[in-house]
Amino acid sequence: MSTATAAHHHDDHPTGIMRWLTTTNHKDIGTMYLTFSLIMFLVGGSMILAVRAELFQPGLQLMQPEFFNQLIGVHALVMIFAALMPAATGFANWMLPLQLGAPDMALPRLNNWGFWLLPPAAILLTAPFILALFGIGDGAIATGWTFYTPLSVQGGIGVDFAIFAVHLLGISSVMGSINVLVTIFNMRAPGMTLMKMPLFAWGWMITAFLLIATIPVLAGAVTMLLTDRHFGTHFFDAAGGGDPILFQHLFWFFGHPEVYILLLPVWGLIPHILSAFSRKPTYGYKAQIYSFWAIGILSVVVWAHHFFTVGLPIPALLYFMYSTMAISLPLAVLFFCWIATMWKGSMTFETPMLFATGWIILFGIGGLTGLILADVAADAQYHHSYFVVAHFHYTLFAGGIMGIMAGVYYWLPKMTGHMYSETLGKLHFWLTAIAFNVTFIPQFFLGLAGMPRRIPDYALQFSEFNMISTIGAFTLGLSQLIMVYNIVRCVRGGKKAEAKVWEGAEGLEWTLPSPPPYHSFTEQPVIK
């Protein structure tokens, strides 16, 4: 087939709604992923603002405990599976072909299916809330995002909905991952060896491997839960010779790698930003790749540190403690490389760089508190207290979402062809960074003082910190509207962006005009 007919075939794409439903174009699909992610970010955010409003003062003001439990669980599922993961997949779709010098993703049709599984999954997650209004069922899943048995065996139809949602989300992620891997292995421009590949592609490659290895375990675990609920099996029921703790092992065998699945694409993308705005090449490119691998491998052997209090034998406790601490070494290599990339550069602080710098600091807090959480004895106190809540928001909000935001500001001019408002971007950064800390620093102290997580009401000694935290959370939530406005404005128009938007940016994506043509590289560039 000649390129001409191929191009003709593809250029003849439908317009309007059919364009989006049937598209196999990597940029269209990437845009859909990112839009979906943004919408779900706002949905999940509103849920937790309702929770924070309830926690503003002791006593029950706005909702009953059942509804509270539903909100916290769905918040987590939405944020992890429907906001953070699709955002990373959106960037992969948009940027991998551009960065690798490929015309499109390797498997365009699979790509389309992968995306269109997401909206039904999001509906499955949230529909029980609406069904409950009509008296059907008793609301969404109320077990927290972890589905712990036997509570989840006991739960209502919300659990079944969530199980099917997780299945769809899982299938979608596996499709996305296969596509990413095939693209990386088969579609690179001639001359671009793996060791010349951008770090973003490297981070994504390891994420994709982790996804295809661990998502099936989650799918298996929730399937067993489903059969335990409805078909009389006893995987997690002591009465039939099963064991409720087995579920925790299965869940966290997926759940711990999941943390790195969320973070690795960000670790891949931040070095590009640091290097661009320091006007200096990335420090320790190979060291970073080896660290990615080390963390990826370690992540599948440390799962039990999520449930030290369940009662494990001493050798197991020690093993999981020391292996968890070992993760700090490759992570320290990454921090070293990030800061060394900035060192002796010629830095400017546009919004992406602000986010990247703030990200290093805040993610650092998440990483360091993770180090002390590995200590089994102290973990008995931290575990399931607000200390842990604060810790994983430093890793997943600061380390995940703020990293994604850095990427949004970095690549938005490339994607839209327009510059966003730098003033609004900076305002968004400062409000986010400050409000984030106002929200979560008090939660560290709440946890130390003894406030358990997932409680709808609390003892009086926790009042002040909760009040501060809620104020922070609302500021944080509302500041995100600035970003939404900024993005919408940038999509609709504004100052024209050049091909190389940022002075110090390196990589193939900056060799194409902004926005790039519908077909990225019809002629593959050759890397020397």
């Binding site: 088969n186 295809i212 661990t214 375990v217 006893h234 029921d237 010779g241 197991a316």
Partner: protein
């Protein structure tokens, strides 16, 4: 120039290879269930004891140098209309000595009910040193309406029990054998 068709075929082939990885991971997920049980048996994790009678070794010597206290406790899980409790709350035993403990069970309803007892030993390091020769927990127990039964447990504490363990607690949770719906 890139051969589009060849590339598409290559992509497909690699995608299928990766599908095998996914399939392997699915299998692995289900294989984790038996693997976990083996792991529990090996480490005593969870205090799960073996569901089969232990063999008595002829060469086993009673350790006269120390006493171990064995405590008994029970719980009847919701949905089982039985009374069930140990007739003795604790026993002092010599490691290696074969002992008999009894439990009292009574069905308080007017129907036959089948129950299954699940044993658990704490501390978990003691799990595989606690050997049951004969136990009502090896199979389901049936009690007719109003019937009461004395349930025997013949056991010994292995002489290999670590010296620092002086008390072992054995708990039975009795479940309704047919899983109930809400």
């Amino acid at each position: 120039m890139i051969d589009q068709e060849k590339r598409a075929a290559d992509n497909k082939r690699l995608a299928w290879k990766l599908m095998w990885v996914v399939a392997g991971a699915v299998l692995f997920a289900f294989a984790l269930v038996p693997l976990y049980n083996v792991f529990c048996d090996l480490t005593g994790l969870n205090g799960k004891t073996e569901g089969l009678p232990a063999a008595v070794q002829k060469t086993m010597k009673v350790d006269e140098s120390r006493w171990v206290t064995v405590e008994f406790t029970s719980s009847v899980m919701p949905g089982l209309a039985w009374n069930f409790y140990p007739t003795q709350t604790s026993m002092k035993v010599r490691p290696g000595q074969i002992m008999l403990a009894t439990f009292e069970a009574k069905n308080m309803t007017n129907e036959t009910v089948v129950g299954q007892a699940i044993p658990s030993v704490s501390p978990s390091q003691a799990t595989f040193h606690f050997k049951k020769i004969e136990c009502f927990c090896f199979e389901r127990q049936e009690l007719k309406a109003g019937e009461s039964k004395e349930m025997p447990l013949r056991f010994y504490v292995s002489p290999d029990l670590p010296k620092d363990i002086r008390t072992v607690t054995l708990s039975y949770a009795f479940f309704h054998a047919v899983p109930t719906e809400n």
